[in-house]
């Protein structure tokens, strides 16, 4: 770092950003590895069905195939919206209607 670098403004140190982004995406891709091909489609269709009844986010569903001894378990987690948030959303929708 030169004495006059402050004149140019200090450059952003981007290596740590790269590392953090990679850590996350690599972990995510590793967990998806070896899981059945139909998972993404299943996830999308389930999301459509759930959204008929509850107003959940696009990323509210987490599907994983887990091993439990000799069995494979389809592990499905749906995060429902906060009660207060949901009520506010419903109220807003009602007002618009």
């Amino acid at each position: 770092m030169g004495l006059f670098d402050f004149l140019r403004g200090s450059p952003k140190q981007t290596a740590s950003i790269a590392k953090e982004r990679l850590r996350i995406i690599v972990a995510q891709e590793r967990s998806a590895r070896g899981s059945p091909d139909y998972l993404p489609l299943l996830r999308r269709e389930l999301l459509e069905v759930i959204r008929k009844y509850v107003n959940v986010d696009q990323d509210a569903i987490d599907i994983q195939v887990k091993r439990d001894g000799d069995h494979e378990v389809l592990d499905l987690t749906v995060t429902l919206p906060d009660k207060s948030e949901a009520a506010a959303a419903a109220a807003a929708a009602a007002r618009e209607a």
Partner: protein, 270 residues
């Protein structure tokens, strides 16, 4: 005992062919009988890097299709007579490679008493790359300290542990090494490039060597002399270390520190 080593990466342009050529020459320098095969059908380039492009008469696909013998297609290196190059076909489509054909050629090399057969993989995860890694005992994954290269390498590591003969038959898994290329210590120190430890931590496998970014690499490919033969280049010396480690020797990592700057460049930045 013949060892099959795939040089692979997923991403293109990271230095697979440069590394294949230098590692092949390095092993030959240690007296090993070596064959290096270009699997990049349609985009032959190993011959240029090895400096034998004008001596290609028959290629890998000719051998697979039994249009010539393996002996006719193997190009003997001018520098080391125990080193042989098998060029990729330049004209055929990539379906010209078959699993059975590749296996037959590799078995024949084994019968000929080769110590090492290096398979220089094409980029991507298509058939050529798949066949280059399928029969491997060992894999050298070439990676640049850069996001897309690291991500692709992880994908390749996944394929190595699922889509190879060793994985399918339940044999001991393919041995995996990282070879970090185009490493720029000054930029690592400045925080602009991921370090060897960063990459090792993300991918979780051991590093066979770190090749510093060097003018010697372009000079070597320009002249068709693998960079490992350039003893004035840091890249060449780093390849020499990597080959020694591959053969089980212990060598400390070199060229990981930024070159010392003079007082003027310190004051004014570079």
């Amino acid at each position: 005992m013949t060892e099959f080593i795939v040089i692979t990466s997923g991403k293109g342009g990271v230095g697979k062919t440069t590394s294949s050529a230098s590692i092949a020459v390095g092993l030959a320098k240690h007296g090993k009988k070596v064959a290096v095969i270009d699997f990049d059908v349609g985009l032959r380039n190993l011959d240029l890097i090895m400096g034998c492009e004008r001596r290609v008469v028959y290629d890998f696909v000719n051998v697979i299709h039994q249009e010539c013998t393996l002996k006719q297609a193997l190009i003997k290196d001018k520098r080391y007579e125990n080193l042989h190059v098998l060029a990729a076909s330049q004209t055929r489509d990539k379906d010209a490679l078959t699993k059975e054909g590749v296996e037959r050629v590799l078995n024949e090399l084994k019968d000929e008493g080769f110590d090492y057969v290096l398979c220089d993989s094409p980029a991507g995860i298509e058939k050529g790359a798949f066949l280059a890694m399928y029969f491997a005992d060992r894999a050298i994954v070439v990676v640049n300290p850069e996001v897309s290269s690291v991500r692709d390498s992880d994908r390749i590591l996944g394929l190595l542990s699922s889509k190879t003969r060793r994985a399918e038959t339940g044999a001991t898994p393919v041995m995996q090494h990282l070879l970090l290329t185009r490493y720029n210590p000054a930029r690592v120190v400045a925080g602009d490039m991921m370090s060897i430890d960063d990459v090792k931590e993300i991918l979780g496998i051991e590093v066979l060597g770190v090749i510093p970014e060097s003018e010697g690499v372009l000079a070597a490919s320009n002249s068709g002399v693998p960079v490992i033969l350039d003893e004035a280049s840091n890249a060449g010396l780093a390849y020499d270390d990597a080959v020694a480690r591959l053969l089980g020797q212990t060598r400390a990592m070199r060229f990981l520190d930024a070159p010392k700057k003079g007082i003027l460049s310190r004051l004014f930045g570079s």
